[in-house]
Amino acid sequence: MRKAEILIIGAGPAGLGAAIEAAKLGAKVVLLDENEKAGGQLFKQIHKFFGSKQHYAGVRGFQIGEDLLKEASDLGVEVLLDARAVGMMDDGTVAVLHKEELIQIAAKKIVLATGARENAISFPGWTLPGVMTAGAAQTFSNVHGTLVGKNILMVGTGNVGLIVSYQLMQAGANVKGLVEVIPRVSGYGVHAGKIKRAGVPIWTSHTVIEARGKDRVEEAVIAQVDEKFQPIAGTERVIKVDTILLAVGLTPKVELAKMAGCALTVEPTLGGHLPYHNDEMRSTNANIYVCGDIAGVEEANTALDEGRLAGLSAARELGYGDDSVEEKKMELNAGLCALRMGTFGEKRLECKERIMKEWSW
């Protein structure tokens, strides 16, 4: 059996943040990721990030990923790729499918940074080739250099829908428009502004009601919706597209947390079910920490700081570091609070405060 002091599951921004901080304090860290490359969603992000200087604001996402990977590697973090955590055992060990071989890893502390998965909506024709999630199209385009289609309808105007639309246009696709079921654009106005001035229509109070085509998507039918989000007869419109992308939210990946007996709560603003945690990212299981999208769907910069908090807390619990760690944790919490201000953040802040207030173990 392999042994680690701190085992981190998921090497996106949260997992990398946790690995870096724990390793800096001297803990022996093993970082797992089910993909062939670490970095999570960062390597798909070719746009410049928001935030402050300490959150790499103004730097493109993939460049942040490169910096973090280098830092983790310089600190001696052991990274296992193609390694999928499949089971949390009662004795605290984790079953991992590593390159098709089942291995067991025993760890004193476990950090779950498993991220989130994309939601989908169903409609007639949604199983046709050419209907997929926005994140999938972004992976094809920005990681593998392949455009999934030439003429695209985007469903959803959250930041994912807006950013992926822009990036696919940069890659040479023709985004025919975006539909949004609510009466307003839900992501940042500045992201919408970029695609609007490039001449792309945004149809608010609209949804996709059908995908048509013989062997793949050839057209999409959209319609206006009423205040109960039901399509209004007579408002249907046919858009010639070969691809329909769904950017309709994300759900935290909580399976491992559930298996380990972490108590869950529900916060729709943060994506649905998620593990209770306190302000040092500890779950209701004393040895398990959660950070990033599993602890509530937010942004890469919040994930990174939550990861740093989890890494510091887990290493401190194991006796690493000194009293100055508390100060660092306070700074990180203040930074997280700042990232959750303003029109887009205050609801998330309210949810996080509620979760932490209700946390106990």
Binding site: G51, S52, R60, V190, A192, G193, A198, I202, A338, M341
Partner: protein
Amino acid sequence: MSNSLIEKGYIEVEDVRNDSNYPSEERFKTGAVAIIECLQEIPCNPCKDACPYGAIVLEGLTIRPQLIEDKCIGCGLCIAKCPGQAIFVVDKSKEEGSVTFPYEYLPLPEKGMSVTAVNRAGEPVCEARVTKVVDSKKMNKTRLVTIAVPVELVDEVRFMKRVEAGE
């Protein structure tokens, strides 16, 4: 807060003119100046550090940036640093006006090229001429494109029809 931005995805020119960041007529007369079209409170502040002249003030992280118009020299360093691509530099001081905006598509326009200037909604406004394309390592692949347009259309124009491959 701009309703147009939330409902349609872009800011109406009146909202920009009524915003506290819209430079004064006196300032416009003295030369190029930045217009910060950042109307929502989002946690973001790199514009502040981008300006070597201290012309962008931003308290905390989520408060909107404010332009100190007399300190701004219209250099455009803030344009490429803004992750929201929400800063423009305009010049209304000469007979012919100009608008500088961030551009992240390929192929790049070239100096002297005739293009179609568009407004914030992507609608054609007028024909324009590319007068400058700035690409520096520091800007990390966000290029600054300047186009010449009639002075009275400077507030409307915010982008151009993209250059098609092979054009």
